[in-house]
């Protein structure tokens, strides 16, 4: 195996394909960045090299922050996403704990059901749900999304936490029970602190899934000031045939940075969460 680690071999097997993948996968983001930094008048001149940034400017970002409803959309998205995350986590810790650690009749069936619920897409339910939301008087209120987002967050987070709770040794819990703690105390004081990394990653996933949600936000909270970031950007910065490209791309960059940072660190856990059922701990 002489030559396996030579430079040219490494170029061929690693850096060249990596560069090609990066070029394809990151090109749209690079393009967004370029457009967001261009002055408007140069943007529409089709004779110019579209990749050249002649007079870079932050004008689009300034407009986005000071002259558009974008900050309000950020606030809306934060309120909705945090609210839904807290509710979903509370419910999912309980469900995940019960499914992961208790033996009871119907436990397996409920586990399967939770998994199937995770597969139910918002596109299937948004029409009747819009009726329910307006019958409850929730239309265009934060509660409309805070209460409906858990429908896709709870199944996912429960599934992930179930796998996590299974990995925590029973002996510690039993020791606490023998020492006179109730089950709730054992859970709260012994198991939950050990499961904190799992709870944290579930929280971050809930947050990012909520941040990225589009359809429910569009249908239940899509008018006036109450838009979320993805809905606001798509519906207010594109009017008929007029596209405010500079502003759109600046909003795209600004709107994806928080979630990109959060996700980047945790994506491995996400996948192991998805397949938690496949590799029982």
């Amino acid at each position: 195996m002489v030559g396996e680690n030579t430079l040219s071999n490494r170029m061929l097997k690693l850096w060249v394909p990596l560069a090609l993948y990066a070029a394809f996968l990151l090109f749209p983001f690079a393009w967004m960045l370029i457009v967001s930094l261009k002055p408007d008048e140069l943007l529409l001149d089709t004779r110019l090299n579209p990749f050249a940034i002649v007079n870079p400017t932050l004008a689009n970002y300034r407009r986005l922050i000071f002259e558009s409803p974008f900050p309000r959309w950020i606030l809306n998205t934060l309120v909705v996403t945090l609210g839904a995350t807290v509710i979903s986590l509370a419910c999912s810790i309980l469900i995940g704990y019960a499914l992961g650690r208790f033996r009871f009749r119907g436990g397996n069936t409920i586990g399967v059901l939770i998994f199937l619920l995770y597969l139910v897409p918002p596109t299937l339910l948004f029409i009747p749900l819009s009726q329910i939301v307006s019958n409850f008087g929730l239309y265009n209120q934060y509660a409309a999304l805070i209460l409906t987002y858990p429908t896709f967050l709870i199944p996912f987070a429960s599934w992930l936490l179930m796998g996590y709770f299974r990995t925590i040794s029973r002996e510690l819990e039993d020791a606490a029970l023998v020492d006179g703690a109730t089950r709730i105390q054992a859970m709260w004081r012994v198991v939950l602190p050990l499961a904190l990394p799992g709870v944290l990653s579930a929280a971050i996933f809930c947050f990012t899934l909520g941040w990225n949600e589009f359809l429910y936000a569009l249908v239940f909270m899509g008018s006036g000031e109450m838009k979320t970031v993805p809905v606001g950007v798509v519906s207010d910065f594109i009017r008929a045939d007029v596209h405010f490209w500079g502003l759109l791309m600046a909003a795209g960059i600004a709107g994806s940075v928080p979630v990109a940072i959060a996700y980047a660190f945790l994506v491995d856990n996400y996948v192991s969460g998805l397949t938690a059922g496949a590799t029982k701990g």
């Binding site: 195996m1 690693l14 394909p17 990596l18 993948y21 990066a22 990151l26 749209p28 983001f29 393009w31 967004m32 943007l43 089709t46 579209p50 419910c91 999912s92 309980l94 469900i95 208790f102 033996r103 009749r105 436990g107 409920i110 998994f115 597969l119 897409p121 918002p122 596109t123 948004f126 029409i127 009747p128 749900l129 009726q131 329910i132 209460l147 409906t148 199944p155 029970l177 006179g180 109730t182 089950r183 709730i184 589009f214 359809l215 569009l218 970031v229 993805p230 809905v231 950007v233 596209h243 791309m249 795209g252 994806s256 979630v259 660190f265 994506v267 491995d268 998805l274 059922g277 496949a278």
Partner: protein, 313 residues
């Protein structure tokens, strides 16, 4: 958790050792507590999932219009209409094209990326995180980037092809049905590659290294080693990722809504966008029938996925 009285005093430790406490109080037994733990989540899921599902089936059997209180039960009329509706036929075809044609590309390119990323190299975790961006960033937002890349006038892709002398006129990416479907598939593949890559990468870590080395010593080529050592190990995760991807793509909304809104001339609808558009015409019952038509397909994919996961146990 307020169900448990906070004032319960622990008994003397001796008693605790004599009597297994798990038997003494109902909230210390596993089964009742387990059911209790299900309650908050179950309430939300019943109210905002089971109930709308039932309501959706009911609505799809009525002629309910938005803004009108009165409506009639009309049986399967909405579904019968869909059987005659050419836009709906197109929608079904599009959804299958969109769901299945993209899969081999995502799979092969994702597998390739996973194999590349599975090597040791400097800054690997930062690079890995960077390449996951298409899958992480809100789809509505990344679709906006594609909307501009596909713009008939401003597209930089057209500009490059023109500069290279490959075309004389800008490509009309979203202007006709075939082009638009191809463009949607391209954007979908772009978004899906990282998911396949990261799933397969997780599977690759489980490939037994000794087996690889043993095969190499026996003179197996790297293709042979890939086929008989690597592939069997990652087979399950590949199947699972594929099914997930099909389900998500089948039920997609954002990408199509942002790029084409189902146009031109209703040519690129999928179930989600067509249901949304029908709802926009106030025909709520009809719209519900469009959305529900996707259910049987989803059920089949879900059943396959479940079987795959269970065979692993």
């Amino acid at each position: 958790m307020s169900v448990v009285p906070a004032s319960v005093k622990p008994k003397p430790a001796v008693a605790a050792l004599d009597v297994p406490r798990g038997r003494s109080r109902w909230w210390d037994r596993e089964a009742p507590l387990a059911y209790l733990f299900m309650v908050p989540g179950a309430l939300l899921l019943i109210l905002f999932m089971a109930y709308p599902f039932g309501l959706g089936i009911y609505l799809s059997l009525t002629d309910k219009m938005v803004g009108f209180a009165d409506f009639d039960f009309i049986g399967l009329e909405n579904y019968q209409y869909l059987l005659r509706d050419r836009v709906f036929h197109q929608t079904v075809v599009n959804t299958f094209v969109y769901g299945f044609v993209t899969v081999p590309f995502k799979l092969v390119l994702g597998l390739g990326l996973a194999l590349v990323l599975n090597q040791r190299f400097r800054l690997s975790s930062a690079i890995r995180a960077g390449l996951l961006l298409p899958w992480i960033v809100p789809t509505a937002i990344s679709s906006l980037a594609w909307l501009m890349l596909f713009d008939p006038v401003l597209s930089p892709i057209s500009w490059v092809l023109r500069e290279w002398g490959l075309i004389t006129q800008n490509v009309n990416f979203l202007g006709d049905r075939v082009n638009a479907m191809a463009s949607l598939c391209l954007a979908n593949v772009w978004r899906g590659i990282p998911f396949f890559a990261i799933s397969i990468l997780a599977g690759l870590q489980a490939v037994p290294q000794e087996l690889h080395e043993a095969a190499a010593l026996d003179g197996a080529s790297s293709w042979q080693r890939f086929r008989s050592v690597t592939l069997p190990t990652i087979r399950t995760i590949v199947v699972i990722a594929t099914l997930f991807s099909i389900i998500w793509t089948f039920a997609d909304f954002q990408l199509i809504y942002v790029l084409t809104k189902g146009g031109p001339a209703n040519g690129t609808h999928v179930f989600g966008t067509y249901a949304y558009q029908t709802m926009g015409y106030s025909a709520l019952g009809q719209a519900a029938s469009v959305a529900l038509s996707m259910f049987p397909f989803l059920a089949i994919f879900a059943a396959l996925l479940l079987r795959q996961l269970r065979s692993e146990d």
